[in-house]
Symmetry: C2
DNA sequence: ACTTTACCAGACTTGTTAGTCTTAAATTAG
DNA sequence: CTAATTTAAGACTAACAAGTCTGGTAAAGT
């Protein structure tokens, strides 16, 4: 199912991109998010709580409450989210699963994967979620 | 823990590379493989059985029995193994987990990931396991 | 034939991730 | 103040992947 990131992480990325479209300080409820993004309600709730605890989101209770980004959208990258949910192990583990990934005793694809891993990292950090969200054409992100 | 492929798949790749070093027709026992590669015995047994059923390996019972490649080492690529164990979903799923991955409604990294995915595919098919195994310097693959 | 060695098949257990449910606490509107 | 709404917290269940165990079958050597 998932390619690299856990399901939790995928949901987190989708939700944060959604929040990045809102005006600064505008709150979005879990209900709206699950409705738009088709993510199980309570599961998403836990994910967002976790992101809030780490400061990536801020939350407010009560009517008119909800979640918003914890910092400006142009200071957040996809990597920040991945790091918070899945961690960075995928950046230094061997893609073939060998015990250690280093130039010492490289696996057959170590060099090649090293290049890909850098590009992957770049993909996650070279643009911020503000830019990304604005250019997004997916219908579930409109209005 | 694992980057892209399941643990089963990682073990399979490691084991097949080991078998690729052996002379044509020479049999290797699960015991030797688990000893060298530090893979749980019964778990590896199941994985190799599955590969044998799919024709990627051939097996022989009894003393002097074991597993060997089911076809010449220079006709097998890492992709063949991945395909047999994990399938090819990682080649067409959205890396951010969006429901469908296509140019129609691309996610923010669709184009970028498309390129990476092609390179990843190339990494898995451009060389055969015979070449790879011969160039391998990892100590556990020596004699 | 008998014994040993090794794969075969499938049930079983364990651990992790995904997903659900319930109760409490905070905030807003009337 | 009260009722409605929404997040917070944590226990709980379900599904899946990882790993183990047992009894069976085929081949080799004596
Ligand atoms: S050793 Fe395999 S990717 Fe580095
Ligand atoms: S839509 Fe995300 S990778 Fe294609």
């Amino acid at each position: 199912m998932s390619v690299i990131f856990s399901r939790q992480c995928e949901y987190a990325l989708q939700a944060v991109l959604y929040l990045a479209l809102k005006q600064n300080g505008e709150m979005t409820s879990i209900r709206e998010l699950t409705k738009k993004l088709k993510i199980p309600y309570h599961f998403l709730a836990k994910i967002l709580q976790s992101l809030a605890q780490k400061g990536l989101l801020s939350s407010l209770k009560g009517p008119t409450g909800g979640f918003s980004l914890g910092m400006p959208a142009d200071e957040i990258t996809l990597f920040h989210i991945v790091e918070a949910i899945d961690g960075v192990a995928f950046m230094h583990n061997c893609v073939l699963g060998f015990p250690d990934c280093s130039g010492e005793n490289p696996c057959p694809v170590h060099e090649r994967w090293g290049g890909l891993r850098e590009e992957l990292y770049s993909m996650l950090v070279s643009r911020n979620i503000g830019q990304m969200a604005r250019e997004l054409t997916k219908p579930e992100y409109k209005t």
